[in-house]
Amino acid sequence: MVLSEPRAMAKHIEPGMRVALPVDYAGVSMAMTRPIIEHGAGDLDLVCVPTGGLQVDQLVGAGLVRTVETSAVSLGEAGGAPRFNAAVKDGAVRLKDATCPAIHAGLMAAQKGSPFMPLRGLIGTDLLRHRDDWRVIDNPLADGGDPIVLIPAIKPDVTIFHVPIADRFGNVWIGRRRELAAMAYASRTVLVTVERIVEESLLADEMSAAGVLPALYVTAVARAPKGAWPYGLWGEYPADSAEIARYAKAARTTDGFSAYMAQAQMEPA
């Protein structure tokens, strides 16, 4: 684990990489969004775990995204994701529409070192019809018939998220947001921003250890206070829905998006 800062961490991202990002409420590292855009590596294949929002919309708006694998993209109460929706209409991004448990299944396959995981449901959906990487087989443990879908392993090159605490050994506290661990297990590189860094090991007592993603899986950590803003961070601060709405309105046009993104990154103190 390397103690780093967001701009330096963004350099881990290379053109064409597969990048996993968490759902709005799990701990989105908004603090990494502008450094990633400044760094400029494009043709990214995003994996939303299992849905995307502001960060995905901004990366799409910045022209860095080739494909989006997701169960949904939206700004929640603030409505549809404007740059994403425009890119869909223009055909500027390729869609890999999924359903939440299929994203989880693909990551679980990678976590387990397995080539695939089976998943119930899906049969008869247009999601399945458009996914040539998913495969339907007859359940080999049934007496015949019983079709079931196999989801191939999702192995991101990079996972990026934001959580409250890291210790100086590189252990990060993810609490009950265990999809963050699943993403990390499946990924080669894991970049984490945190509210604060503590001296004592988070593994030193069982109460804090229970919510830890061990340093073994963490490539670099950077301090970024209010790093999820304008999203909230569980146990720390609520979402700033006025700011998300402000973005939603601004980003209806490319010019409005550019003007918004040109502003200072952080919330005024």
Binding site: K89, I123, D126, H130, R176
Partner: protein, 252 residues
């Protein structure tokens, strides 16, 4: 009989549709389904029985899960979730749901957020209630443009769940998976069959003179306007406040 708001009719209808469930999951931006579940819980507990467990997704306070966002789906796969709600940009007469977009996929002319967990939950949650207040032909179409989740599955496909009812701002339909299709069960106060036919893009069965949706009795209404709106205010403060403002108008 006290005057009852249209949304109170919806909430009480949902409570009826949920009767008997042990565990219901509700989306974070679904105050009406949540209110229905909370009302059922309040009614059960008022009668000395055990109410259903209610999981509100995405809520920090009502998040009983500790294994990340996969737990809801695992929980459903284990058969531990009895009821769930689905909306949809389009819903058709076969119970198919479209959460992805209108027009030709993938370059949809209108893109909605996406399928979320519907392509799984619709298969494994026994009692899925389709709920959409807007009752128009653009929502209730003959055939959806994209199947996020199908209403029925062929023989031999594993399916322990599916739609049981469709509740709209105008009426309540039951889903018959053998036909498959919808049957109008009741019409909400202030609406009628002709209006519903005009607003619905798919064919459905109905009585010549459909009954009116049952209205809550005084005790139920008191529970709803008291305990349930208090509980609701914790998670959906704006919705609860709006309901109380609307009730103020009624009372005035």
């Amino acid at each position: 009989m006290a005057e009852v708001l249209p949304r109170e009719v919806l909430i009480c209808t949902i409570a009826r549709l949920l009767d008997g469930v042990r565990h219901v999951a509700v989306g974070a931006s679904s105050p009406i389904p949540a209110a229905g579940a909370m009302l059922l819980r309040a009614m059960k507990e008022a009668g000395g029985a055990v109410g259903p467990r209610i999981s509100i997704l995405g809520s920090v306070e009502h998040n009983f899960f500790t294994n990340g966002s996969a737990e809801l789906f695992d929980c459903a796969g284990q058969g531990r979730i009895d009821a769930f709600f689905l909306g949809g940009g389009q819903i058709d007469g076969f119970g198919n749901v479209n959460l992805v977009g209108a027009g030709d996929y993938p370059r949809s002319s209108v893109r909605w957020p996406g399928s979320f967990g519907s392509a799984y939950l619709y298969f494994v949650v026994p009692r899925v209630i389709l709920f959409r207040e807007e009752h128009t032909p653009r929502v209730f179409v003959e055939k959806v443009d994209f199947i996020s989740a199908p209403g029925v599955s062929p023989e031999g496909v594993f399916r322990s769940g599916g739609p049981v009812a469709l509740l709209t701002g105008k009426g309540l339909f039951r889903f018959d998976k053998t036909r498959p299709g919808f049957e109008l069960e009741s019409v909400h106060p202030g609406h009628d069959l002709a209006e519903i036919k005009q607003a619905t893009g798919f064919r459905f069965e109905h009585d010549a003179a459909p009954q009116q949706t049952a209205l809550p009795d005084r005790a139920t209404l008191d529970l709803l306007r008291g305990r349930v709106f208090d509980e609701l205010a914790e998670t959906y403060p704006e919705f609860a406040a709006q309901m109380r403002r609307d009730l103020g108008t009624v009372d005035a």
